[in-house]
Amino acid sequence: MLILTCPNCGERNITEFRFGGEIKRNSPKPEDGASDALLLANLYLKENRLGVQKEWWYHRAGCGIWFIAERHTKTQVVEQTYLWEPQP
């Protein structure tokens, strides 16, 4: 079983967590004039990367925090996990 390191609780079995999806970069925004069609499609379009992916995880059977993992989607090597912080 894969092990994921919760920033709060430490190493736990992957079955304790729920995957929250890839973290999208450069999403179109209405304030930048993006059309309705583009905004809608952005809800669905994915990078679906084969490589190291930044993604959300939720510790559902533990402390309940949401955190970010950087994981290689084929080798499953998790480079790091950390809490989200607002960008300056």
Binding site: A37, L38, L40, K46, N48, E55, Q76
Partner: protein, 412 residues
């Protein structure tokens, strides 16, 4: 017979006739199909057979049928939820019914009947909904109750002992199982006979686009000039689409499956439970072929996990406690390209000459024939056939999704 085999073994099987030839790669083809699974090969077959288009190459990075086509749990059915879905999969079932004759190859389609169990009121209501939609499109499905289920699957625990007792089911007589490898080989042999080139161990490494039009494909064995490329690579389809700068609404998830040791025939129908997240059938070898839902996170790995087989066994034993001592023989996984609405993505894209037959998730094998036939039609006529129009790529821009999650999978 055995003397002939020994003789052939001694001269290195030189006298065996290959089912599909290894042709030299041309430097250009009219159509290049990326992906040598049932979808890619069926498209090539129908292009040649129905439209006389034979200057076609099927490029497969491994051996044909090594992807989802060789890893599925062999279930064929058309008992979907939406009218668009039902019509589409029904055409596939009808093609499967005649496939052995059409390909002159025994695909072993056993239309033994298919049961989708309902364990609560809302599921039963959904089964009734599906039955009505099916019947309206001329597809044979109806709701049955434990008395009839008992006759169809006598070994199922229909008492109130399970945590979620069975209340009823959607019974779909035309559903069944098939020999998936035979379908791949049958299509490949026939396409090859008609002049299509099948190139195995040929990996696409790039696609050239000029003025928003496809002009060629780079592979590990050289470059091919072409103006029409079909992406039929399922779990890997995002990587191919990326080569033309196209983003897909797809997430790749592994789907695991397993088989038990052979048992004497005791299960005549295919049994599916959404509540218990499993589907199972007994193959002609007596093995129980079992599957559940996709792994719960994006992954391109085809590793098998203990949590999958533990979870599946626990759920199956709820309904079939007599199987407790049966041994699991083998476990494997394949990659599924999951879409937001559990319906495929077929047809034209904003990049001219780049076509899609993707988004097949966990429900692609049953659609092989109809996809091949209709994608061949699309390619030959440059028009989207009405049957597959609801599955266009632009529906993610217009919001007209075709929601089939409940009927397409046993996911949460």
């Amino acid at each position: 017979m055995s003397i002939k085999l020994i003789k052939q073994a001694l001269n290195g099987h030189q006298s065996l006739i290959p089912m599909w030839r290894q042709q030299p790669m041309r430097d250009s083809y009219d159509i290049v199909i990326i992906g040598g699974g049932v979808h890619g090969l069926a498209t090539a077959h129908y292009l040649a057979k129905n439209h006389g288009i034979t200057n076609v190459a099927v490029l497969e990075k491994n051996y044909i049928g090594s992807g989802g086509s060789g890893r599925n749990t062999t279930i064929i059915r058309s008992n979907y939820l939406t009218p668009e879905g039902v019509l589409f999969y029904d055409e596939s079932v009808k093609l499967y019914e005649n496939l052995a004759h059409e390909l002159d190859f025994n695909v072993m389609f056993s239309q033994r009947g298919h049961l989708t169990l309902a364990h609560n009121d809302s599921s039963l209501r959904t089964m009734r909904w599906r039955a009505e939609v099916n019947q309206l499109q001329g597809v044979d499905s109806r709701v049955v109750y434990p008395d009839e289920i008992k006759k169809l699957a006598p070994f199922m625990d229909l008492t109130d002992h399970p945590r979620y007792p069975v209340m009823g089911a959607l019974y779909h007589p035309p559903g069944g199982i098939i020999r998936h490898d035979a379908v791949v080989w049958g299509y490949a042999r026939d396409a090859d006979k008609r002049g299509v080139h099948i190139h195995q161990k040929t990996e696409v490494t790039g696609i050239t686009v000029q003025d928003n039009r496809v002009t060629g494909v780079q592979t590990n064995r050289g470059t091919i000039r072409t103006s029409t490329v079909l992406n039929a690579t399922a779990g890997w389809s995002g990587l191919i689409a990326d080569m033309v700068g196209l983003q897909l609404p797809i997430e790749t998830r592994p789907l695991q499956a397993c088989v038990t040791e052979p048992l004497k025939p005791f299960l005549d129908v295919v049994v599916v439970s959404g509540t218990l997240h499993f589907y199972l059938s007994q193959s002609d070898r007596g093995e129980l072929v079992m599957g559940a839902e996709v792994d719960p996170f994006t992954s391109y790995s085809m590793d098998s996990t203990l949590e999958f087989v533990e979870g599946l066994a626990g759920h199956v034993l709820e309904l079939f406690p007599s199987l407790a001592k049966v041994r699991i023989l083998r476990q494997w996984a394949g990659l599924c390209d999951m879409t937001p609405d559990y319906s495929p993505i077929m047809g034209f894209t904003p990049v001219e000459g780049f076509l899609l037959d993707v988004g097949w998730g966990t429900y692609g094998f049953k659609a092989g024939p109809v996809s091949g036939k209709r994608m061949a039609e699309l390619i030959a006529t440059s028009r989207t056939p009405e049957l597959i129009a609801p599955f266009s790529y632009d529906r993610f821009y217009t919001g007209k999704l075709v929601g089939e999650k409940g009927a397409a999978s046993v996911g949460h």
